[in-house]
Symmetry: C2
């Protein structure tokens, strides 16, 4: 029997001109395309018209990945669509875990994409120019104690910090606690950049400070970037210096 | 006078099929293209044949950015080429800093790209699936004490950690110290993935463990990814679980 393939495809932030050609090729050649409805809608124009499309609601990641692996095992060419980069808070890991546990024998290829943190940084200016940490505030799959420990570590060591999944309708206290932790280590006027739906039609960007960040509109499609002690605002941009000014005359 | 533009273009890891169409368009339409020689060579086929190309050697970032801004101020369309993502250890921040200090009046646009950390993760499997930190070991622009503090914080809070600029001919002790710090917090057999030139013709990938990582070939074009306490190897891949196994039956 032919061995099939699951290509775990990063479509980038949503704008088609920010999706890599390798991802486009995978979408065009796939016989079966599996993914979360919102992401599939962003790239539906790229599918082969003959492709079978299996869209699912949010929170069905395990079913989605399992289905993709099963179909690939029958010899099919399957694209599993992820927003951003499949390797950052998306489905690349789950596909490998399931394949390992189930003993699937198909090829698995990860096609990287521009992640939310990359896209948001470009919208904001250049906030990630120095060492940074990415932390998801969702405690659905991670104990809150561990998340809090990471927030504390990132805050105390002056990492620029990108917060994924900062808040949902049911989860509202985590972003408040994150702000408290950072305020214990960083100035109240530390720049914070809040981007919603980077690279999509409804993209919005808010610049604020650590002390007033909770006044901003924050939801599940939002990425929050907290600057380090050197980050500054200039002409509606958020910029973290790399350190050239200390070394050279600039 | 026409106001010019500097587009700070992320070309991704080096393979042309991992560069976003928006970056390609910027390279095709630029009248002047400025960049470090190695990166320009990777994308030279994309330039307008009439474009003026100003290539420079390594370590001339300040001159390069200043030149791009000056040319844009004369009304020209300038592309400043960066490897990976311009916002991660590249030139986006420096362009803004110089524009601020010099009072340049031109448009600055950041075009994000697939960064080395994204590309290396895809080559390795799925090592960045949980909270992670990116740290540059170069103490050229950053005091070593601060780098060490960040290594300590990342290691103690169980962040997957991506080390940029791990070693050069002159700088060899930093990676040794980083390993020591991580060994104080993480098991000797913690998976480590070492990728050289991800996405380029000379790409290589080495999987090893924290205790023996110094036996691997590591240089300036290398990115070192240290797993967290849950990261594992499976079929020549490095995988960090997101936590689905604790929540669902997988």
């Amino acid at each position: 029997m032919t061995i099939g393939v699951v290509r775990v495809v990063g479509i980038g932030p949503g704008a088609l001109d920010l999706m890599a050609p390798r991802a486009l090729a995978a979408l065009q050649q796939a016989e079966i395309i599996v993914g979360y409805r919102t992401y599939l809608n962003l790239v539906a124009s790229c599918f082969n018209p003959k492709a079978e499309v299996l869209s699912s609601a949010m929170m069905q990641e395990v079913d989605r990945c399992r289905k993709a692996l099963e179909l690939a095992e029958t010899g099919r060419d399957v694209a599993l669509v992820c927003g951003g980069d499949p390797g950052i808070y998306a489905m690349a890991g789950l596909v490998f875990e399931l394949a390992k546990n189930q003993g699937n024998r198909c090829r698995i290829e990860i096609i990287p994409g521009i992640a939310a943190l990359n896209a948001c940084a470009a919208v904001l200016g250049a906030p990630l120019m120095h060492d940074f940490a990415a932390i998801s505030l969702s405690d659905l799959l991670t104990p809150w104690e561990l998340i809090e420990k990471r927030l504390e570590a990132a805050a105390s060591a002056d990492f620029v910090t990108v917060l994924y999944n900062p808040k949902s309708k049911k989860r509202t206290s985590q972003i408040e606690r994150a702000r408290e932790i950072f305020l214990a280590h960083r100035a109240a006027d530390t720049p914070v950049g809040i981007v919603h739906a980077a690279g999509r039609e409804d993209e919005t960007m808010q610049l604020c400070t650590l002390v007033n960040m909770l006044d901003a509109s924050i939801g599940m499609q939002t990425t929050v970037t907290i600057g380090n002690s050197q980050t500054f605002f200039w002409e509606n941009r958020m910029i973290t210096p790399r350190g050239y000014a200390g070394k050279y005359s600039i």
